[in-house]
């Protein structure tokens, strides 16, 4: 972005309540290359305080001159630092966002949508959820789960349920957040990773992520599950979990369609009875969602 445009945007930027359709300006303060097509942008507000959010929610990020895209928050609410968004380059907007450099301005609207229900605000009093938690992430699907896993690992150390993180990726070079995976494992989470293809230099597992379910060691009758990744992966993983004895009500999935307004106004992200930007992206697998996942869309 040119310096002139930057100056105009900064001059016109007014802190305060600007309405949900008007982006707030954030500056890129760090850019982390996760894989060859995945980048994490760390953003700080140009003025005022950083927004509060819950893991699983998303923001609409504007790349000025290119457009707006729904991008999950990949940071932890516990981290007081910059907002983190992890972007996969899949089109003109996400490519422009991915190529943003330190110092560039990005428009941010949000946070929008539902969350993974892992924070203490979802529990009565000071109770801890002691059920095992199975987190299954496929590819970039780990990004919306990153903050949730942080919360769960901390809760587990304080007496909450055990955390089982199962990660699937196309190949070893496509695994994101390797440092976090190691850190979570050191803190007691059981972390299993499987890739679809690998050379003999890869010492981890090769196979479908659902193959990890049987080895994880969680207690199906007393667990909850958070799933995020390609929809086919979530469909098969949810089925496998139910077959193992997990209550469908205890499974949450993150669904994505064409999010545009973020407020449930425009209807672009409708899926059955849901407007995913407002009612989702995180929804219980049981009931309507299970039917919708099995329905053939045109």
């Amino acid at each position: 972005m040119s310096a002139d445009v930057d100056r105009v945007l900064e001059r016109e930027h007014v802190a305060g309540d600007r309405g949900a359709m008007t982006p707030a300006l954030y500056r890129v303060v760090e850019r982390i290359r996760e894989t060859d097509d995945v980048t994490t942008l760390c953003l700080e507000p140009l003025s005022g305080t950083r927004m509060e959010f819950r893991p699983g929610q998303f923001n609409m990020l504007s790349a000025f001159g290119a457009g707006e895209a729904a991008i999950s928050l990949s940071g932890s609410p516990r981290d007081p630092g910059p907002l983190r968004h992890t972007v996969r380059d899949v089109g003109p907007v996400t490519r422009t966002l991915s190529e943003s450099g330190v110092g560039d301005l990005i428009g941010v609207r949000g946070p929008f949508g539902s969350d993974w229900q892992v924070g203490t605000q979802h529990l009565a009093g000071d109770a801890l959820d002691r059920r095992d938690v199975v987190v299954v992430a496929g590819g970039i699907g780990l990004a919306p789960l990153r903050g949730a896993v942080d919360e769960l690992v901390v809760a587990s150390r304080e007496g909450g349920g055990r955390v089982f993180l199962l990660v699937g990726a196309r190949e070893p070079a496509q695994i994101v957040f390797n440092d976090d995976l190691e850190s979570w494992a050191r803190q007691g989470a059981r972390v299993l990773v499987s890739v679809d293809r690998a050379s003999s230099q890869w010492h981890g597992r090769v196979g479908l992520v659902t193959a990890l379910l049987g080895d994880a060691g969680f207690e199906p009758a007393n667990c909850r599950a958070l799933l995020c990744g390609p929809e086919i992966m979530m469909r098969f993983t949810a089925r496998a979990l139910v077959d193992m004895g997990v209550d469908p009500e205890a499974i949450l999935v993150s669904l994505e369609r064409n999010m545009q307004c973020g407020l449930g106004w425009c209807g672009h992200c409708q899926l059955g009875p849901f407007l995913l930007c407002r009612d989702g992206p995180v929804l219980p697998y049981a009931g309507v969602v299970r039917e919708l996942l099995n329905e053939r869309e045109r």
């Binding site: 003999s200 990744g229 390609p230």
Partner: protein, 156 residues
Amino acid sequence: MTSSIAELVAAHPFMAGLSDDHLAVIVGCARNAAFDPGDLLCKEGASADTFYLLRRGRVSIDVHAPGRGPIVIETVGPGDVVGWSWLVPPYRWTFDARAKDAVGAVAFDGACLRTKLQDDPAFGLEMLSRVSSQLLARLQATRMRLLDLYGDHRER
């Protein structure tokens, strides 16, 4: 405490629920086997004469590609089985199976097993059902991976 081969066979998930009579039949073809990391359990093109129940350690199913070295198709571990080719002519391995760690397994003589399956059709059906179940699970997983789930399938 050292377990007998009959106990090792009976304890493996693949054999769960098998009757004592059938266990007694199959144990006659079994022996204990151990492999160091890097050892081959099966070698592509070689005679397929063994069926393995994995007890510990992981095994990679590899294929060698010129210029690319071994490509790992799948890894399997404790509770899994290795090798179907002993069951179907021409009884030849189509992939390498290599120990990734120290591997403990129960190895069955393929020719011995085939004879037992032919001699006792009820036992044969029982074993083929179990093998088919494993084959189906592997086939479905392979089909899923053919979809390249994590790839970028959107038009740019």
